[in-house]
Every structure is written in structure tokens, then in C-alpha cells.
């Protein structure tokens, strides 16, 4: 088995860390080959920064995200994915990964005390989403307008609705429990974060901006607290 792994997973040291080249084959097999390779040499890989060369494989956001998570569980940080497929590179960029070896992630070169933030990109929609409209993005989503009942918003990351949220939203759809949902008026038909589903109670009275997140395995929506949230 080890011999086969060596064929499909090649590792060499580069200036920015380790470069791992994956050969052809089924993605799941390759992934498990890579992970078992890392597990066998856990001490060597601990704290390593790796760039992954995936060749012709077309990776989806979910696959990429789950690989990144599995690697970070092993103390390995994935900073770049190079691919022959523009789609895969695009998804990598959405996930905040580099796609060129010569250009390491900006965060890596940021010196201490540098106050310029790069942030993460998001899909912005400036309109009201009426019943039947669906908006999906592997990254974050911002809606300026209402999300009406019957509309659906699905994001790999966070969701911000600058308006009334009354439809169905799913944040952290790739399984990210850290994702949050913010809305000026939080009255969704259904709210999901990662694999958790919540139906919020009917509210009366003047709407207030709220933020929903996962706390202790439950989705909790709280009124936006300027003192706490602003100071983060």
C-alpha cells in the first residue's frame, strides 16, 4: 500500500513549505492516501504549511473545505491549491487559498502591527428576493433588501441580510458551525447553520437587528449587542 501511496502522493520541500503533488485517480482514494501518508509521519507534518498540486482534478467547495478541515485537524495548514482547472482555482480563491506558489497568501507576510486587513470576499445582491428566488454561494452572502417567504439563501460562509429575513437561510452549508446569520428583522421560515436546523419563535413588536449562531450545539438568535459585538 505504501508503494502505491508514493506513486499518487509526491512530496517535496519548497521555499514556502511543502509541495504535495497528487496523481490521477479517484479523489476520495487520493484524499485518504494523502491523509494516511500524513498520519504515518505525524511528527514530520505537524505545523507544516502545504501547497497541493491537484492537476486535472476538479474539486468542489465542499471537498476542498473538508480536506482543509481534515488537514488542520492534523496540525497541517493548507495555504495553496494549484490546478489545471480554472473552476477549481476559483473555488480555492473563494475559500481564501492561494493558487500560485510564488505568491503566498497575503496573511502570511503581514507583519505584526499591520492594520490593513484583507478580509474575505462575499457575494452581494442588492434587491429583494421574492418567493421562488434562490441565491447560493460557496462563500459569504450579503443581501441588501428583504428575503421573502419562499426565497432561499444558501452560503458556505456567513449570511447578512440588510432587510427583513423571512425565507429560508442556510449558513455554513459546507458544515461550518462557526457561520453566523445577521438580519435587521430576523423572522425566517427556517434558519440552518451547518447541520443544525432552527425554527425561530414568532415575535411581536418592533423588530431589532439580530445575529444567529451556534452555541452549545444549538442555534441561538440574539439581539445585536453593540457593546459586545462592536468590541470584538
Amino acid at each position: 500500500m505504501v508503494g502505491e501511496n508514493n506513486l499518487t502522493v509526491q512530496i517535496k520541500g519548497v521555499r514556502e513549505g511543502l509541495l504535495i503533488t497528487l496523481g490521477e485517480g479517484d479523489w476520495l482514494d487520493l484524499e485518504s492516501a494523502l491523509l494516511s501518508h500524513i498520519d504515518e509521519r505525524a511528527n514530520f507534518f505537524k505545523g507544516a504549511k502545504i501547497a497541493l498540486e491537484v492537476g486535472n482534478h476538479v474539486l468542489h467547495a465542499a471537498e476542498m473545505g473538508s480536506l482543509r478541515d481534515k488537514l488542520s485537524e492534523r496540525g497541517v495548514s493548507l495555504w495553496a491549491i494549484t490546478s489545471n482547472s480554472p473552476k477549481t482555482e476559483q473555488i480555492a480563491q473563494v475559500l481564501g487559498l492561494a493558487t500560485r506558489l510564488s505568491a503566498p497568501r497575503p496573511e502570511r507576510v503581514v507583519k505584526p502591527l499591520d492594520t490593513n486587513l484583507t478580509g474575505e470576499s462575499a457575494a452581494l445582491v442588492h434587491r429583494t428576493l421574492r418567493s421562488g428566488f434562490r441565491l447560493a454561494n460557496s462563500g459569504h452572502i450579503i443581501v441588501i433588501g428583504d428575503v421573502n417567504p419562499g426565497a432561499e439563501v444558501v452560503a458556505g460562509g456567513n449570511i447578512v441580510v440588510w432587510g427583513r429575513l423571512r425565507g429560508v437561510v442556510h449558513a455554513g452549508a459546507d458544515g461550518n458551525e462557526k457561520a453566523v446569520v445577521c438580519a435587521l428583522d430576523m423572522t425566517p421560515t427556517q434558519l440552518r447553520i451547518a447541520d443544525l436546523i432552527a425554527a425561530l419563535p414568532q415575535k411581536k413588536g418592533k423588530p431589532q437587528p439580530e445575529i444567529a449562531r451556534v452555541k452549545d450545539g444549538q442555534v441561538i438568535a440574539e439581539i445585536w449587542n453593540y457593546k459586545i459585538e462592536g468590541g470584538r
Partner: protein, 267 residues
């Protein structure tokens, strides 16, 4: 003359598209406009019944589109009004017998001869709906003050926007003022808050509508009925006139009439 094409649609069935089309047609025609209604609900035609013209159908919309008759031959002139015509739907065919471009071509042919072309759309969001809005200059969405009808209206308004036929204008039909007063029915404001479109009319629940529909005599012929008056007002707003919305308070009781006599104009 260049007609304005007005499509009446709703998404949900049974909210009053056909009643609205018939009454707007009557209201517009009684104001010296030349009006033609097209029933786009192929296979489930109703407009002819509501207008009381069922027994005079010889040719229909599909006959025109398929070249079995001339346009003139399929147009039925109303008995009561010289300026009102109907192009009925075929009953034995289905929506796919006509395409959106057929409808555009038909309306372009009618435009020079009329002031108004009213299209009665079928319920749903499929072919019949697309046929109906393809030639539209303006779209009226009919809804009832019920959650399900409002939900469908929202969907339809979104589709109208997507077809770049918007912004649609809204008619709230069958509002029951006493139910609203008791808090048991959505108010016009509740509906507007969700749909966020221009309101062109509120039609109160009125049993005269049922009676008149069965007789083939649209209520707009009877300005004494509140619903009839509401449709007449909508027809004025379609023309661009400013008409205040009806006061839909329940019929005055003895005491409130007395108060009004003592304080005229006070509310």
C-alpha cells in the same frame, strides 16, 4: 389609436383574475374607450361566461393563431357595449397551442384599433402565464388578503420582474372590512408590506359579485355596488387619474350616521 396591453395575473387560482378582467373591461368601455379582452386560459375558459357571451362563440384564440379564421371573425362584440370585444380561449385545446410570440403578434395586430387590450391570464407560472405577460405593457397582479395568495403573488411579481415587465401593480380583491376590523384578516398594509409594489385598487368582498358573475353581468355595470365602484376606480387609475381609495368601513349603523349628521365630515 395605440392600445395599452394590460395583463391580469395572480399565480394562485380563484383569487378573481377573470372577474377583475371582465369588470375592468366593462369599466373602461363604458368610458368611451375601445376595449378588447383576450382569454388566455386555454382549456379552462371563463371570461366568456363572466361577460355573458358564451353562447356566441364561433371561433377562438387558437383558431386565429392557427389561421382558421381572421382576427375579426373571432372577436365577439358585447351586447351591452359597442366598444367592448372578447377573443375567447379554446376550450378543447391546451396552453401549448399558443406561444408567447403568437400573443405578441396578435396584440400588435390589435393595437392600432383599440385603446385597451386586457389579457386574462391563467393561474400558475407555466406556459399560459408566459403567453399572457409576453405582450404586456403593464401587469396587474390580483391577490386576496390570505397568506397563500400573497405568497403566490410575491412569486409572480418576482417572475414579472425577471421578464422585465415590472413593476407590477397590485389589486387586493375580496377584502372583508369587518374581518379586518376583528383582526382576523390580513390588512391591505400587511399585504403591501410584504409585496412592496404599487397598489392600484382594493376591492371589497361583495356578494353582488357572485350573483353578477352567474348572470354574466359584471358588477362594474352597477356603480351602486361597492365592488363595482372599486373596479371603476381602478379603471380610472389605469388611465393615470388620481382617485382616492374607497372608504371600506362597514355600512354605517344608525348611531354613526347620526354622529355624521351632527359632525359632517368628521370621522
Amino acid at each position: 389609436m395605440t392600445a395599452t396591453v394590460v395583463t391580469v395575473t395572480s399565480g394562485k387560482g380563484g383569487v378573481g383574475k377573470t372577474t377583475t378582467t371582465a369588470n375592468l373591461a366593462v369599466a373602461l368601455a363604458s368610458d368611451n374607450s375601445k376595449v378588447v379582452c383576450i382569454d388566455a386560459d386555454i382549456g379552462l375558459r371563463n371570461l366568456d361566461v363572466v361577460l355573458g357571451l358564451e353562447n356566441r362563440i364561433v371561433y377562438d384564440l387558437v383558431d386565429i393563431v392557427e389561421g382558421r379564421c381572421r382576427l375579426r371573425q373571432a372577436m365577439i362584440r358585447d351586447k351591452r357595449m359597442q366598444e367592448l370585444f372578447l377573443i375567447p380561449a379554446a376550450q378543447t385545446r391546451d396552453k401549448s397551442s399558443v406561444s408567447p410570440s403568437d400573443m405578441v403578434r396578435l396584440c400588435d395586430e390589435l393595437r392600432p384599433e383599440f385603446d385597451w387590450i386586457l389579457i386574462d391570464s391563467p393561474a400558475g407560472i407555466e406556459r399560459g402565464f408566459r403567453n399572457s405577460i409576453a405582450p404586456a405593457d403593464t401587469v396587474l397582479v390580483v391577490t386576496n388578503p390570505e397568506v397563500s395568495a400573497v405568497r403566490d403573488a410575491d412569486r409572480i411579481i418576482g417572475l414579472i420582474e425577471a421578464e422585465e415587465k415590472g413593476p407590477a401593480r397590485l389589486i387586493i380583491n375580496r377584502l372583508n372590512p369587518s374581518l379586518v376590523k376583528r383582526g382576523d384578516m390580513l390588512t391591505a398594509d400587511d399585504v403591501l408590506e410584504l409585496l412592496a409594489v404599487e397598489l392600484i385598487g382594493i376591492v371589497p368582498e361583495d356578494e353582488n359579485v357572485v350573483v353578477s358573475t352567474n348572470r354574466g353581468q359584471p358588477v362594474a355595470l352597477d356603480p351602486k355596488s361597492k365592488a363595482g365602484q372599486a373596479f371603476i376606480n381602478i379603471s380610472h387609475r389605469l388611465r393615470g387619474e388620481k382617485v382616492p381609495f374607497l372608504n371600506l368601513e362597514e355600512k354605517d349603523g344608525f348611531f354613526s350616521r347620526l354622529t355624521k349628521m351632527i359632525h359632517p365630515g368628521g370621522d
